[in-house]
Amino acid sequence: MNTANDDTGAPVVVRNLVSQYGQTRIHDDISFAVEQGEIFVIMGSSGSGKTTLLRHLIGLAEPTSGHIELLGRSIFDISRAELIDLRKKIGVAFQSGALINSMSVADNIELPLKQHTKLDPATIRIMCRLKLELMNLSGAEDYMPAQLSGGMLKRAGLARAVITDPSVLFFDEPSAGLDPVTAVELDQLILRLRDSLSMTIIVITHELESALKIADRIMVIGDGKIRAIGNVDEIRRSEDPAVQALLARRAMSDGIDAETYLSRLTGETSDD
C-alpha cells in the first residue's frame, strides 16, 4: 500500500488528517500521497467525506489536525498571500461548474489569464477558444452560464480550471448527473489532459465505471478511514467489505441489532 511514508517530490501529501464537524468525525487519521503525473481517484459512498477532503486539499477548509502539503508547501502554515500565489499552479473544477453567473462563458474562462498575465486580449481569446475546442464547447463563448446544460457547465468549469495549464488539477465528481455519453467524453478528456500535459489529476467520484477506467490509483474512503488504496487490480483484490460492496454495487448492511434499530426508529437511546 502506497501511503504518505514514501512521498519525496509528491505534489500532494497528506499526513494524519483528522477533521470533525461538531461531534462527528469525518476523517480519522488519513495519510496518503499523490505522485507526479498520475490520475488519483478518491472514491467513497455519498456522505463519506470526499468533497470535504477536496476542500482540505485546496485550502478552502482547515482540518481539525494533520498536515497537507501541496507542491511542497504546507498549505495551512503559509500566509494567505502565499496560499493565493500557490493556487496559481493548481486548477479546480467544481461539481456544479461554479461559473460566475454574471459573466459569459468566455469571460469566466479568461478570468485567470486576465488576472495573472499581461497577455493581450486577442491572445487570451485564442487560448480560451483552444480550451473550448478541447472541451467540445466551441461556439459557446458568448453564452451565459444559465443557458448551459449540466454537462456543458462541467466542461466549461474544466476549461477554466486548465486555462493556465496547472501542475495539479482537482476535479470534483466529473460524471455525477451526466448522461453516459457525456460522462465517457469527460473521462476521455481527463486522460487526454494527463497524457498531453503531464498533469497530476485528483478526481473525486462515486462513479465506479469512470474510476476504474481513468485511475492510475484509487483510494476508497469510508467511515472516516482509508479502506483501500492502490491501482485498479489492487482495489479489485481488496477484501475490505466496504470496497467489495462498492465494486459489487451492493448495499452495505451496518449490522445493527434489533434493539438498536428500534431505538433509532423511536429516537430513544439504547441506554434508556
Binding site: 478552502l60 493565493i84 456544479s96 461559473l99 453567473n101 488576472q115 477554466r160
Partner: protein, 262 residues
C-alpha cells in the same frame, strides 16, 4: 445576577464569534484594498449600480421628503409667526439628519440587499471558492470594490437628496404658501453652517461604509457559524438579516455622530 443557561451562553458566544468574524472580515477587506490591485472595472460597474441607478428613487424620495418637511414646519411656524425661518428649518433638518439617514436606508433597500443576495448566491454555489481557487483574492475582487463604490456613492446620493429636498421645500414654501423666495434661501444660508455640511458628509460616508461592510460581510460569511446558511432559504435569511442589521446600525451610528459633532 441571574445564572445564564447553557443555551443562552451558547447564543452569546455564537454572537461574539459572529462579531469577531465580521471584524476579521473588515480587516481583510481593508488590507485587500491596501495591498492588492484595485479592480477598476468592478468598481465602475458597482458605482453605476449603487450610485447612478439609485438616482431616480433618491430624487423622488428627496422631493417628497423636502415637501412634507416644509409642510409640517410651515404649519408649526405659522402659529408662532416665524414662517420666515422655514428655509432654515428645512435646510437644517435635511442636511443634518434626514438626507443622510433616508438616503442610507434607501440604498440598503435597493443596492445593499441586492449586493448581499448576489454574493450569497455566489457563496452558496461555490463561485467564491472558485474565485479563490483561481488564485484571485476574493476580498480584492468582490468585496473591496463594492466597499469603495458604496463609500463614494452614498455621499453623492446624499448630496442629491439635500438639493432636491431643499427644492421640494422651496416648492411648498414659496410656490404653494407664497413665502418670499429671498427669505427662504437667506434664512437657510444664515443658519446652515460648514459644520452642518461636515456632519452631513461624515454621516453619509460612515453610513456607506456600514452598508457595504454589513451587506457584503453577512453574505461572504454565511456558510460559517453554528447555523450555516445555504441555498435559497439561506440567501433569503442572510439578506433579511443584513438589511435589518445595517438599518439598525445606521440609526445607532446616526445618534453617535450627532452626539459627537453637535
Amino acid at each position: 445576577m441571574p445564572t445564564l443557561t447553557a443555551s443562552a451562553r451558547d447564543s452569546v458566544f455564537e454572537r461574539l464569534q459572529g462579531l469577531g468574524r465580521m471584524g476579521i472580515f473588515f480587516w481583510r477587506m481593508i488590507m485587500a484594498g491596501v495591498t492588492q490591485r484595485l479592480q477598476i472595472g468592478v468598481l465602475i460597474r458597482q458605482i453605476h449600480f449603487i450610485g447612478a441607478r439609485s438616482m431616480l428613487v433618491i430624487g423622488v424620495a428627496g422631493a417628497f421628503v423636502g415637501m412634507v418637511v416644509a409642510l409640517q414646519f410651515y404649519d408649526t411656524l405659522v402659529r408662532f409667526g416665524s414662517v420666515s425661518l422655514l428655509g432654515s428649518a428645512v435646510g437644517l433638518s435635511l442636511i443634518r439628519e434626514l438626507a443622510p439617514v433616508l438616503t442610507a436606508l434607501i440604498v440598503i433597500g435597493r443596492a445593499g440587499s441586492a449586493m448581499c443576495a448576489e454574493l450569497g448566491i455566489m457563496r452558496s454555489d461555490n463561485q467564491i471558492d472558485a474565485i479563490e481557487c483561481m488564485a484571485i483574492d476574493a476580498y480584492a475582487y468582490l468585496v473591496t470594490p463594492r466597499f469603495i463604490a458604496t463609500v463614494i456613492a452614498v455621499p453623492l446620493l446624499t448630496a442629491l437628496f439635500n438639493i432636491i429636498g431643499i427644492g421640494g421645500g422651496w416648492f411648498v414654501g414659496v410656490v404653494i404658501f407664497d413665502l418670499s423666495e429671498g427669505a427662504y434661501f437667506v434664512s437657510m444660508a444664515d443658519s446652515v453652517l460648514w459644520r452642518d455640511l461636515a456632519m452631513n458628509l461624515t454621516k453619509a460616508t460612515v453610513f456607506g461604509a456600514i452598508i457595504a461592510w454589513v451587506c457584503t460581510g453577512k453574505a461572504f460569511l454565511m456558510h460559517l457559524g453554528r447555523e450555516p446558511a445555504f441555498g435559497a432559504e439561506g440567501v433569503s435569511r442572510t439578506t433579511t438579516d443584513a438589511v435589518v442589521i445595517a438599518s439598525i446600525s445606521i440609526l445607532f451610528a446616526d445618534y453617535l455622530i450627532s452626539a459627537l459633532m453637535l
